[in-house]
Subunit: 119 residues, 2 copies
Amino acid sequence: MVNYQESLNRTFAALVDPTRRAILARLEREGSASVSALAEPFTIKLPAVMKHLDVLDDAGLITRSKTGRTVTVGLRPEPMREAVDWLRRYERFWSKSLDRLAAFAESKEIEATKRTGKP
Amino acid sequence: MVNYQESLNRTFAALVDPTRRAILARLEREGSASVSALAEPFTIKLPAVMKHLDVLDDAGLITRSKTGRTVTVGLRPEPMREAVDWLRRYERFWSKSLDRLAAFAESKEIEATKRTGKP
């Protein structure tokens, strides 16, 4: 249970920063990328990007492998599953508002049918 | 877009702490609760709980209303929807592993059918 909580702490902490989210989003699209390619779109310096990669690595969200002088970063999305599962319990609130919206649309339709006689 | 990113930053930052997650989970179950009732299960002192409530409030995840001397805390889950939507793009990785699992189970079933002649 402690491990589960600590793992959630680390996952959410990793997701707090928009640069780290952008790195994860890019890995989701491209599968894997070199550190220098990942750093390229950002205005921050390479060492700052490396620190973000350390945080993602500590959270178990990426893998890093070295071939010669190139470090390739890959996505390891599993910890995000726990985060989604944790957040899912709140989904019923959104479905509730969708239900209300559907009920409202339906009542408007009935009103219109009564007025015009046409469904 | 900046507002969207900032809102995600605040939501994920609010979810980093297990005490704040426990408060949100309780509000999900009970609808609303007084500050003193929320603080009761924790070993931390009331001012520390109040600080956690401030963080949740800043992230737009709770509402607070005062009646006499009692502050009632309610859940405002909407910002979590953005967080779930952000995380959802990684779902295909989990479904992939489920697909692999299903394929594995199916191959085992075919094997067993071949061996025993019974499906």
